[in-house]
C-alpha cells in the first residue's frame, strides 16, 4: 500500500566520524517484500530507522531523503509499523490487550473502535491468550508475536522488521515466521532484516544487499541475486544460503575428563521449579561439547554450573586433579583468580562481563591477575587483538563496540587467562559470516590444542561445524545423546 523511495540517503550518528549509511538510492514498489542484507556495520538498522522516521534531527547528520508515497517519512509516520529484535524492551504495558491498544490510542483512534481492532490484530498473529494475560508471563516467541500484533493493529502500509527472530530459540522463531507469513496483508510493503536467510526466503520476493561504504552490492529476486553474486556476498560477510562453511572436526579422539557433573540440579532461591533438573555431564579435553534445547530448559544454568559460578542445589561437580592443579573442593568454591585461569565463562550478553575502560585492559586483566610479567601480558594481548580483528579498537571503550565486536572481545577476554575449559553461552550470536568463521576457527584451534569447549547454542551451523558431541536439555528425555 506504500511505495518507498530513498534518494541519496545518508546518516551519520552524532559524534561519529564515519557515516552509518551514505549515498543510498532505492525504490520499493507498493506491496513488495524485501529482505535487506549486508555485513555488520553496513547500515541495515539505520536504514530501517530512517524509514520509520526514528532518526531525530538532533541525533546526527542527515543527507538526501526517504519518501513514502511521495511524502517525507517524518510526516507519514503513522503509515509505518516496526518490530525490533529485543522482546523485553518493546512491550510497553503489562496486559497483552492494553499493549496492542497502545499504538491505536497514540494515533487517536476513537475508543469504541480500539478493542475490535485489537482483537483482529491478535487473531491475525494467532495469539492464544486472553486480553488480560500478563506480558511478563509470555515466552520470547509469544512476546514477539504480540509486538507484531501491536505493529499490525494500526494497519500500516509499510511494515519494517529488524531481526525479529534473532533472540529466539528455533521453536520461537518458527512461531514468529508463521505469524508473519499469515498475518501480513498481501498489499503491505515489507522490509525485513534477518541473519537466518534460508528461513526468511519464503517470506520475500526481493533481496537487497547493502555494501559496506553505502550503495548496493546486489539487488533482485533471491534466485538471481544468490546465483550471480553468491561468492561476492559471502566474501563480504553475508550469510548466503547453501554457501559451504568449513568443517572443523576434532583432530583426534577426546582426552581425559576435566569436569564431571553428577546429577547436578539447580533451583533459584524461592523459585517453585528447578531451573535445571538433575543431569549428568562430562567435559573432556580436546573435545567440543554442544548443549542444545529449547529456551527455559536450563542450558544457561548448566553453563553457569560448569563454569564454577553457582553451586548446584543438589548433585556434585568434580574437577579432575589435573585441572584443579592444587585447588581443593568443587569449582564454585575456588577463588575467582584461580577459577578464571582454569575455567573460562563467556556469557550470553557480552556487556555484562566488561569490567575495564578499554579493550586492551579488558584483554590484559586475566594475564595480569595470573601475575605474568609485562612483556608476556603485552604479547598475549597483541596476539588476541590481531586474531579477533580488534586491533584498531584497542583504545575503545568496550561498551561502545557493536554487538559482533563485543562478543569477540568477551571470548578473547576469557581466552586471555588461558583456561583449559571454556564455557560459552550462544557464542556465535549476531556474527556475520566472516566473523563467525574467525570465531569458530579460534575455538577449534583451542580444542585441538587440548582445551575443552562447552557451547550452549541454537546455531545449527555451529553444531555442524564444530561440535564433537551434542547434549540435549529440556523436554524429556533429558540427557546425552
Amino acid at each position: 500500500m506504500v511505495e518507498v523511495q530513498v534518494r541519496d540517503l545518508g546518516w551519520r550518528h552524532a559524534g561519529r566520524r564515519e557515516w552509518a549509511l551514505r549515498g543510498l538510492d532505492l525504490t520499493i514498489p507498493s506491496g513488495q517484500r524485501v529482505l535487506l542484507l549486508g555485513a555488520s556495520g553496513s547500515g541495515k538498522s539505520t536504514l530501517l530507522r530512517a524509514l520509520a522516521g526514528l532518526l531525530a534531527a538532533d541525533s546526527g547528520d542527515g543527507e538526501g531523503e526517504a519518501l513514502l508515497d511521495g511524502v517525507p517519512v517524518a510526516r507519514a509516520r503513522e503509515r509505518v509499523g516496526i518490530v525490533f529484535q529485543d522482546p523485553q524492551t518493546q512491550l510497553v504495558l503489562s496486559r497483552c490487550g492494553d499493549d496492542v491498544a497502545f499504538g491505536l490510542e497514540n494515533r487517536g483512534v476513537p475508543p469504541e473502535r480500539i478493542w475490535p481492532q485489537v482483537a483482529r490484530a491478535l487473531r491475525r498473529v494467532g495469539f492464544p491468550y486472553h486480553l488480560d494475560h500478563s506480558t511478563a508471563a509470555l515466552s520470547g516467541g509469544e512476546q514477539q508475536r504480540l509486538a507484531l500484533a501491536g505493529a499490525l493493529a494500526t494497519d500500516p502500509g509499510l511494515l519494517l522488521l529488524d531481526e525479529p527472530t534473532a533472540n529466539l530459540d528455533p521453536a520461537g522463531a518458527a512461531l514468529v515466521r508463521t505469524a508473519l507469513a499469515e498475518a501480513v496483508r498481501a498489499d503491505t510493503t515489507v522490509v525485513l532484516v534477518e541473519h537466518r536467510i534460508a528461513a526468511a526466503l519464503p517470506l520475500v520476493d526481493r533481496v537487497v544487499a547493502l555494501g559496506p561504504g553505502g550503495g548496493l552490492l546486489a539487488d533482485g529476486p533471491p534466485e538471481t541475486v544468490f546465483a550471480d553474486h553468491g561468492p561476492a556476498l559471502a566474501a563480504a560477510g553475508v550469510w548466503v544460503p547453501g554457501h559451504p562453511l568449513p568443517r572443523l572436526p576434532a583432530a583426534g579422539p577426546a582426552g581425559a575428563p576435566l569436569l564431571s557433573a553428577e546429577k547436578v540440579r539447580y533451583r533459584r532461591h524461592g523459585a517453585d521449579r528447578d531451573a535445571l533438573p538433575a543431569v549428568d555431564a562430562v567435559v573432556r579435553e580436546g573435545e567440543a561439547l554442544a548443549v542444545v534445547g529449547p529456551n527455559g530448559g536450563g542450558k544457561s544454568t548448566l553453563a553457569l554450573l560448569l563454569g564454577g559460578l553457582i553451586a548446584p542445589t543438589s548433585g556434585v561437580l568434580r574437577a579432575a586433579e589435573d585441572l584443579a592443579a592444587g585447588l581443593d573442593g568443587p569449582p564454585h568454591r575456588w577463588p575467582a583468580t584461580g577459577l578464571s585461569a582454569r575455567i573460562g565463562s563467556v556469557f550470553q550478553n557480552p556487556e555484562h562481563q566488561f569490567v575495564r575502560a578499554n579493550v586492551r585492559d579488558e584483554l590484559a586483566l586475566g594475564p595480569r591477575l595470573a601475575g605474568h610479567p609485562r612483556e608476556h601480558v603485552d604479547a598475549t594481548v597483541d596476539d588476541l587483538l590481531d586474531r579477533l580483528g580488534l586491533a584498531a579498537l584497542a583504545a575503545a571503550n568496550p561498551f561502545t563496540l557493536s554487538g559482533g565486536q563485543a562478543r569477540r572481545l568477551s571470548v578473547g577476554a576469557a581466552l586471555a587467562a588461558a583456561p583449559r575449559v571454556l564455557v560459552l553461552d550462544e557464542p556465535t550470536f549476531g556474527q556475520d559470516r566472516n566473523t563467525w568463521i574467525a570465531l569458530v576457527q579460534l575455538l577449534a584451534g583451542l580444542r585441538d590444542a587440548g582445551a575443552a569447549i562447552v557451547a550452549v547454542t541454537h546455531d545449527d551451523e555451529l553444531l555442524a561445524t564444530l561440535a564433537d558431541r551434542v547434549m540435549s536439555l529440556g523436554g524429556p528425555p533429558t540427557g546425552e545423546r
Binding site: A52, L93, N106, V355
Partner: protein, 252 residues
C-alpha cells in the same frame, strides 16, 4: 477468582486521595490516641479495599520495624520530663518521654498504613489511566513512568548476572571492605549502563508506535471520576476530622 472488594472499583485517584486526606491531618498531632484511632479505622476498612488482615500484616512488616526503630531512637535522646519509670545504666527513662515516643511510633504506622492499603490492590496501569484522564497529567509522564516500571524486575536478574560475571573475570572483592565497596560500585555502574540502553530501546519502541507524536491521544480504558469517588474522598476527610475532634474533646 475472588469477588472484587467494593472500594477497589473506585477510581485510583479517589483511593490515593482518600488515603492522603485521611493520614496527613495526623501529622498535626503528637498524642498517642489519635494515631491509635486512625490505625483502628484503617484496619477496619482494609477489607473493603480488598486487603485481608493477614495480607495487611505481611505488607506492614517493614513499617512495624520502622515504628519500633523510631521508639528506640527517641527514648534515649529526648529531653526527659515526667516521672522516672526505669533506668538503664546512666539512662533514665521518664513516662513523659515514653508517651511521646510511643505516639511518634504509632504515627509512623498511622500515616503509612492507608497508603499500604490502597496501593496493595492498585493496578499501575489503572493509576496511569486515571492520572492522564482525570488529573490531566501529561501522557508522557504517566505512561513513560509506567513503561520504566516494567523494566525494574529485569534489573534484579541483571544484578545477579553482573556479580557472577565479575567472578568469571577473576575479580573477587575478598573481605576487604574498601575492595567490596569498589566492586559494588563497578556492578552498579554496569547496571546503570545497561539500564540506560534498555531505556533508550524502550523509548524508541514507544516513539515508533506514535507515542507523544503530537496527536490527541484517545483512551482504550475509560476511567471516570464519579459521585461515588467524591463520596470516598469526602468520607476519608470526615473520618479524619472525627478522630481529631474526639481527641481534642478529650483534651489531648
Amino acid at each position: 477468582m475472588t469477588r472484587r472488594a467494593a472500594l477497589t472499583r473506585r477510581n485510583p485517584l479517589a483511593r490515593v486521595g482518600a488515603a492522603l486526606l485521611f493520614s496527613l491531618p495526623l501529622l498535626s498531632t503528637l498524642d498517642p490516641l489519635t494515631p491509635t484511632l486512625a490505625i483502628a479505622v484503617s484496619i477496619a476498612v482494609a477489607g473493603a479495599f480488598g486487603v485481608s488482615v493477614a495480607a495487611l500484616t505481611r505488607r506492614s512488616g517493614p513499617l512495624l520495624l520502622g515504628a519500633v526503630g523510631v521508639l528506640f531512637s527517641v527514648v534515649p535522646f529526648a529531653e526527659p520530663h515526667g516521672q522516672v519509670v526505669a533506668a538503664v545504666g546512666p539512662l533514665e527513662i521518664t513516662d513523659g518521654v515514653l508517651v511521646d515516643a510511643v505516639g511518634l511510633g504509632l504515627r509512623v504506622l498511622a500515616v503509612a498504613l492507608p497508603g499500604v492499603i490502597v496501593l496493595a490492590t492498585m493496578d499501575p496501569t489503572d493509576l496511569a489511566d486515571a492520572l492522564t484522564q482525570n488529573a490531566r497529567l501529561p501522557a508522557r509522564f504517566a505512561y513513560g513512568s509506567l513503561a520504566a516500571l516494567r523494566l525494574l524486575p529485569l534489573l534484579r536478574s541483571q544484578w545477579q548476572q553482573l556479580v557472577l560475571a565479575r567472578r568469571s573475570r577473576g575479580l573477587s572483592p575478598g573481605r576487604n571492605p574498601a575492595a567490596q565497596a569498589r566492586s559494588l560500585g563497578g556492578v552498579a555502574f554496569s547496571l546503570l549502563v545497561g539500564a540506560i540502553r534498555d531505556g533508550e530501546r524502550l523509548a524508541t519502541a514507544m516513539d515508533a508506535r506514535g507515542f507523544d507524536a503530537g496527536i490527541a491521544r484517545t483512551a482504550a480504558r475509560q476511567q471516570r471520576f464519579t459521585g461515588g469517588d467524591w463520596a470516598l474522598v469526602a468520607g476519608a476527610a470526615a473520618f479524619a476530622a472525627t478522630i481529631l475532634m474526639i481527641t481534642a474533646g478529650l483534651g489531648m
